[in-house]
Assembly symmetry: none
Homo-oligomer: 205 residues x 4
DNA sequence: TATGAATGAGATTTCATTCAT
DNA sequence: GATGAATGAAATCTCATTCAT
């Protein structure tokens, strides 16, 4: 629960963002006070408001940045690969990497959507839906490629895959036993098997 | 975001618990106020304290009940089945059912552990660890049975399985397209494939 | 500027209202803080919120009560008297009395309308318009009775009369030189002369 | 309530003054923030302090200018006219014109005296008293001229006259039905009748 | 001349909780 | 069993103002 302060020499605006990431991820949006945020960023709570709008704006900015990056990365994967299985494998690796390397951002995105007001929520959900729709079509392509039905099953599989991969943000530690690329590769294997690909061919990246 | 009140004729103690489930699940612990809780339960905020200790006690009670039931159910599964694959399949079905039928409880357990104080957190984490250790050994048994290595892979697979199945609490609706037992069966298939069982033999329950 | 505290033994709800009257009248709505209000009423600022909604609600309640009473009194005058000149004389006396006896309320009504939000402002302005329309028709009747044109002149006269009489709230002191009824009678004479009645017949009440 | 920005090409100092007039008149001194003032003047809030002392200084300057002009104009009227009735008629016209043409200034003078600190308040009240004493003696002269007692009655009449004429600032619109000079003339008639002059002789200017 | 950065103090309102009745 | 009254602490956010650049 105690979160060490950022207190670096980085520009204040960045420190505010870092503080928000640290604390929102660790204690949740409603569990984080403005004063904690300020202290963590090494500012007074009044000064905080030079670098942000409202507390909610700060949250939305974090979510938007994170989701936009996920979308861009997913689109890049789809562009770079043509083979359905390879696409899915690479999508899984990308998602796992994102959640292992930016666990704060992704945890905030995954866990704090419901605190947003109507307008902000709509925006964030639109982004999230765009990201998920990329997954959806990639999963459907794989199911079609291996001769499986791709209706309700594809939705189920997409959800299962996304949840399973997002979980990485909850436990991965960069100083842990498995290097990140190992974890990403293994998840790709698990994911392909899950959707029904019997012998995932090219697990390497 | 608007959560309809319980306002039933149930005994007050139960109404308090229901209110907490509704609101903690919908808005989070820190996002739920004592007065909202009281209003939702049809009591005054002072009366609330006849039926609970502190707000945190209420949260802990919800988590404890939920986790103890999961543990009991998991132990029952292990007792009832001997075959590793069948055990895992049944464990998955049980977990999916629990998350589909009691999404509020499981969401609270999954999402609010970090708000607990040290003592309560230790207790809850102990329970969670017990539950996960049951899964861990069942997964290991399956991997051993199919001739796969069961070290770090088993931990990875267990985490992937649990995350993927817990996600059901986020999207399952009792009035949706798939009946619950279908979803449970399908998840069992997905899960077995994930760990490497090629032709899940007895998907039915 | 220093306003002596109410601090009586009156019920808290009343003390809050009194405090608001004292301070809103003396320092204005925006010049009065919640903490000053609380201190003046002998409560903590948190306790204040047992007896009121928001600060604006408190203001609106004061305005509504004051305006509704003015309207009721004006309607009573119109009902009680038939002669136009007598009606106007009595209306003036009533208005002067109200502003002399309840200077805090009337000053708040006259000076703080623009701080209200849209909804509250609409309500208050509706009440104010009702009150002024009573005056308007009484003034028109007088002008007609004395053979004067009653168009734009009546509007001008009504405004002049109301402003002149409302000013009493700014200077009348109960311990001053003139008894209230004298002031009221004299204003009735001034007012009738203003609209053009040469020898106000029944200045007494 | 929304006040359109000044945003002109006028020199900054003037823009600051205009902004203060707009906002103090519309929202009151305490209802106007330094940042609103700055935005309205097209400056940053820090730059504002190049053109003013404190916020209160700005308010005092507005009040002083307005009152000094009223005093000068009133003295000019007294100098220019010898006949008591004509003096009063012209004084009324002047006051009405001032309030119709500079409603922001006069509203601020009339409504924000009590927010001033002791020193500033003393200065402003001294000016106001000087202005009112001019009126007082003119009214007394009229009463004496028409053979009426001029003691307490004169004070009452002066107050009634001033309030009634100041009210013009609250409703006069330059694009309204009556041209300003009409309004001024009519108020002169109303005012003379009010003090007891039966047939105001020279209503025109 | 002009402004970003900064802040201590204070704004209004809600927090979880207690207690006398 | 139930609640109105009460509150210290804290919530988010704005205040008027200063200062180095």
């Amino acid at each position: 629960m105690p979160v060490p302060p950022t207190a670096s020499t980085a520009p204040a605006e960045e420190r505010v963002r870092e503080a928000a990431l640290d604390l929102f991820a660790a204690r949740g949006y409603h569990g984080t006070g403005i004063r904690q945020l300020a202290e963590h960023a090494g500012l007074s709570s009044a000064s905080l408001y030079h670098y942000m709008g409202t507390k909610e704006d700060l949250l939305v900015a974090i979510m938007r940045t994170c989701l936009e990056r996920l979308i861009a990365d997913a689109e890049a994967v789809v562009t770079a690969r043509a083979d359905p299985e390879e696409r899915l494998a690479e999508l899984i690796r990308m998602h796992v990497r994102a959640h292992a390397e930016r666990p704060r951002e992704t945890r905030v995105v995954d866990g704090e959507v419901e605190v947003l007001g109507a307008a902000a929520r709509a925006e964030v959900i639109t982004l999230r839906d765009r990201y998920e729709s990329i997954w959806q079509s990639v999963v459907e392509d794989v199911l079609t490629a291996i001769g499986a039905p791709a209706g309700e099953d594809a939705r189920l599989a997409r959800r299962a895959l996304l949840e399973m991969c997002s979980g990485v943000a909850r436990w991965y530690r960069p100083d842990g036993r498995s290097p990140l690329e190992d974890v990403a590769d293994r998840y790709a294997v698990l994911g392909l098997r899950l959707v029904g690909v019997p012998h995932p061919s090219h697990p390497s990246h």
